[in-house]
Amino acid sequence: MLKYTIQRFFAMILTLIIIATATFFLLAAVPGDPLVTKAERLSEEQKERMYAKYGLDKGVLERYIITMKGFFVGDFGESITFPGETVWSIAEAKLPVSARLGIQQMLIGITVGLGLGIIAAMKKGTWADYTIITLSILLISIPHLVFGLLLQYIFAGGVVNILPTIGWPEGDELWFGGWEYTILPTLTGCFSYIASYTRLLKTSMLDVVNQDYVMTAESKGLSNMRIIFKHVLRNSFIPVCTNLPMSVAMCITGSFFIEKIFAIPGIGLYFTSAVQSRDLSIVLGWTVLISAMYIIVVFITDILYTVVDPRIRIRGGKR
């Protein structure tokens, strides 16, 4: 297990280096540079000083070496669009907002999704099953954008006027409190989780129900409930586990649109504007950060497998 963890750690570092390299050269390959608009009206001397400040006067290879040196100490440089800010300072201020939104969406979405999945599987072929599956297909087909606007219209004036359309709790209420602001964005985002987890669990459960060991359980005289909860569910969770890392990664990065619709001061806004203005250090830093998060989540999922399915063992070295 320890050996495996160490192996995985080095694999992670290597993956991140590759990602950083690819991102760097892709950004460098795009014609023009981030200072073009800013430097337009400056004198030649000021321009030169400005380019020198961000290291843009140097060659691509030299810049790559400097960037990678910074990569290893976590220094991606200063933002161009937001002077004085770095990836870290932006993340510190804005990440909690996006994280809370994402976590709320994910928790509600997965809980409701799994619940509906169980119902759909147990009531297979009835109106309850058809309703749930039709709804989930509908939910997954409608983009966040449409849902967000629709909910805003319904709950903030159009039909009833009970919830704020924009804004997000701040200060003491950053993590906890100010719930009325979070309801609509959370709802908007959780639908896609509900839809995918409902269908995932239903399919998986129907597969497990036809296994021989479920017949064994029946032949023991167990009640249906006991069979579902003790024998079917755990085995049905194995494919669900595969989907989890995607969801966790999505929970940080997937709410860009929602943040825009509800004017939530999350990380999404900064990231999209950084890409637009080609804010090199921010784009690079963020890409690496998100990749790192994703890789770590995948690693945790691999460990989670061993908890759910005892047949899977983790060990280092070659098999």
């Binding site: 072929g125 296994q211 021989d212 060991y213 017949m215 064994t216 359980a217 029946e218 032949s219 023991k220 005289g221 167990l222 009640s223 006991r226 003790k230 024998h231 755990r234 085995n235 759910v308 399915d309 005892p310 047949r311």
Partner: protein, 347 residues
């Protein structure tokens, strides 16, 4: 002798896209208390479906036990059972061992818990007591180091050991009726003998009635008192073990016995197979289902299903050859028969 189980005219169908598959077409047999009955027949003849019906494991919407069927357990009609009665019956009164223990055990639950589950619901034990009892059961079925094994998962057991676990699950609540659905088919020959020993020892100790399903007549000889031979969803011959082995009356039974390799003959014998395939059960033939594969087939065989001819005691076979009217045409044909023709009386 008193019967623990009486199956009368059992019919089971599966509804598929191709049509209604009549897996079991009117099967009747009795199981005596404390005795073992063997059901033999080739794959797809309806053996497993028959015993699944006895366990109430025929599930809709595809599976259907046809109206008019009757299964009496201790004189009670189990086909009318409600959910609660089924729960009390399964596991406690009747238990089943499946063919492939690897797929029949839950891969994500420890073996001990899978045995204990039975005890918790049927004997009202708490978790600790049930696990202690499960450990004891593992010892009974001959698994070494049961204290350690009880906490392991099925994939940590060998094939034979897994089947022992299945037996432990089945016997946990001391059922009155044990159904063994090809318990040794997935195992190699030496292990087969061990597993059968475990089953027959437990049967003798507890006085359990057993239905043993197999397509291997060799397996049956030492355990069963009665044998039922099934073919394409019907019983074509039944009787005491010795009667079936030494005086088979149906050409199919005779071919089956002929297919068992003999140890007392020289080494290079050809394996004898029964030519042809069993009939399609979506559209079963109106005559005898074996007629297309039978060397003694007469005109009547393709036209009408034969009645049972009795040969004294409980030995019966459904074949036209034993009908008095058949005697003439048999003489003309000049065929030689490996068995005596003609019954004691016609039913």
């Amino acid at each position: 002798m008193e019967n623990i189980l009486e199956v009368k005219d059992l019919r089971v169908s599966y509804h598929t896209y191709a049509g209604e598959v009549q897996s079991v077409r009117g099967v009747s047999f009795n199981v005596e208390r404390g005795e073992a009955l063997a059901i033999v027949g080739e794959s797809g003849c309806g053996k497993s479906v028959t015993v699944r019906a006895v366990m109430g494991l025929i599930k809709g919407p595809t599976g259907e036990v046809k109206p008019g069927s009757s299964i009496l357990y201790n004189g009670e009609e189990i086909l009318n059972y409600n959910k609660k009665q089924w729960s009390a019956y399964r596991g406690a009164e009747a238990a089943i061992i499946f063919q492939d223990a690897l797929t029949a055990l839950n891969p994500t639950m420890t073996v001990g818990k899978q045995i204990a589950e039975n005890l918790i619901i049927h004997k009202n034990l708490n978790k600790q007591e049930a696990l202690a009892e499960a450990t004891e059961m593992l010892r009974v079925v001959g698994i070494p180091e049961p204290e350690k094994r009880v906490k392991q998962y099925p994939h940590e057991f060998s094939g034979g050991m897994r089947q022992r676990v299945m037996i432990a699950i089945a016997f946990a609540c001391d059922p009155k009726l044990l159904i063994a659905d090809e318990p040794t088919t997935a195992l190699d020959v030496t292990i087969q003998a061990q597993i059968l020993d475990v089953i027959s020892d437990l049967q003798k100790q507890h006085g359990t009635s057993v239905i043993l399903i197999t397509h291997d007549l060799g397996v049956v000889a030492n355990i069963a008192k009665h044998i039922v031979v099934m073919y394409s969803g019907m019983i074509i011959e039944k009787g005491l073990c010795e009667e079936i082995f030494y005086q088979p009356k149906h050409p199919y039974t005779w071919s089956l016995l002929n297919a068992v390799p003999r140890l007392d003959l020289e080494n290079k014998q050809d394996l004898v197979a029964i030519e042809g395939t069993p009939p399609d059960l979506i559209a079963p033939p109106k005559g005898c289902p074996f007629s297309t594969r039978c060397k003694y087939c007469m005109n009547i065989c393709n036209e009408r299903m034969p009645e049972f001819t009795s040969f004294g005691g409980e030995h019966k076979a459904a074949c036209w050859l034993h009908h008095p009217m058949a005697a003439n045409s048999i003489k003309e044909s000049g065929l030689e028969f490996p068995f005596e023709l003609g019954g004691v009386e016609n039913e």
